[in-house]
Symmetry: C2
C-alpha cells in the first residue's frame, strides 16, 4: 500500500492526503513530526536525502518526494489534471508559482507565528509584503474564474488552497481577498475538508 510520511500541521503534506482521499486511493499515514526533527533521522534521510516531508513510498517500495510531484503522480490520468494541453500547462504554471512565490511567504509566516511563537509584527517585512502580493495575485485571477485551471477542480486548486486556507494564522486577512475566500470554501467543499 502507499505509505505517506507527513506532518499533519503541514499544508504540503495535507495536499497528498486530500488527493489520495479524493481519488479513493488507500494509504497508510506515518505521522512525521518536523518540529521534533523526525525528518532528520538517518532512517528518514535514507528515504529522502532532502530531509523534507511529504515523502511517499510507493507500493513497490520506491520513494518520491516534493508535494506537487507526488500529487501529480497520484493523480495521473484522473480529472484532477486537465486533459487539454494548454490548461494543463496553466495548472503547472500555478504549481510552480505556488512553490516559488506563495509558499515561501504565506506558509512561512504562518509557521513562524503559529508554531514558532513569533508575533505578526515581528515577521520580516519582505515576507508579509510578498505574502500579500501572492494573495492579491490569486484574488485577481479568482475574480475572473471559479477554478485556477481548466474550469474545474485541478491540482492547482489543491496545491494553492493548502496554505491559503490557513493564511490568517500568519496574520493575513482573507476578508481583504473576497474572491479568494469564496474559492477556499468552494475547494474545501469539493475536498470534503470544510
Amino acid at each position: 500500500m502507499l505509505k505517506v510520511y507527513g506532518d499533519s500541521i503541514s499544508g504540503n503534506c495535507l495536499k497528498v492526503k486530500w488527493v489520495a482521499e479524493k481519488l479513493g486511493a488507500p494509504y497508510d499515514w506515518v505521522e512525521t513530526d518536523v518540529l521534533a526533527k523526525a525528518t532528520r533521522t538517518p532512517d528518514f534521510l535514507a528515504l529522502n536525502p532532502a530531509g523534507q516531508v511529504p515523502l511517499v513510498v510507493l507500493p513497490d517500495g520506491r520513494p518520491l518526494a516534493q508535494s506537487n510531484a507526488i500529487i501529480l503522480h497520484l493523480a495521473e490520468g484522473s480529472d484532477l489534471i486537465p486533459g487539454d494541453s494548454f490548461e494543463r500547462a496553466k495548472m503547472f504554471e500555478w504549481l510552480f508559482w505556488e512553490q516559488y512565490s506563495h509558499e515561501p511567504y504565506v506558509a512561512v509566516a504562518r509557521f513562524q507565528v503559529r508554531y514558532l511563537g513569533k508575533a505578526v509584527s515581528e515577521l520580516e517585512p519582505r515576507v508579509v509584503e510578498r505574502g500579500r502580493a501572492a494573495l492579491q495575485r490569486l484574488e485577481d485571477a479568482l475574480k475572473e474564474t471559479d477554478y485556477l485551471a481548466g474550469g474545474r477542480l485541478s491540482l492547482a486548486d489543491v496545491a494553492l488552497v493548502a496554505y491559503t486556507r490557513v493564511a490568517h494564522e500568519g496574520g493575513f486577512d482573507l476578508d481583504d481577498y473576497p474572491a479568494v475566500k469564496v474559492w477556499v470554501g468552494r475547494v474545501e467543499a469539493e475536498l470534503n475538508i470544510a
Copy 2:
C-alpha cells in the same frame, strides 16, 4: 510563431531557449531587461501579472509563465520527458526541488554578486549555506547516475544546469562538487551550450 520574452542573464529564461533549440522549435526572442524594469511595464504586466520572465506567447496568442511550466509544455511528447511514469515523477521531483531549494540560493547569490555588486562575504549566511546544501544534494545524486531522471537527458537536467553552471559567479566552487562539474559538462555538450 512562439514568442519568448526573456532576459539573457537569467538561467530561468535560458532554459526555454535551450529546450526550444534542442527540439528544433522556431521562436522569436524578445530581450526583456529585468534590471531596467522591463517586466514592470503595463504592457508586460498585462501578459504576465506576476511580472516575471520567462514568459512565452504561444502561436495562438495565449501567454504562459513559469520557466518549468513552459519547458514542460514545449517538450510535451518529446524524449526530454521520461516515458516511464515513475521516472517522470522523479523528473517532477527535481523540477519542484529546483525552484524551492536550489534557485532561491544558488541563483540569488549569483544575481546579488554579479549583477548587484555585492561581495561574496556580504551574502546572507543562510543563502550561502542553503546553496551549498543544494549543490551537495546534487553531488550525492550525480555520484550515482549520469542524469537526474530516466537515465538520459531530461528537463530535470536542463532546469538544474541553468544556475548550477554559473554557481561560481555567486561564490560557490564547483571543484568541491566533482560529479556535478562533470555532469554540467555533459549536459552543456548535449545542449550545445558548452
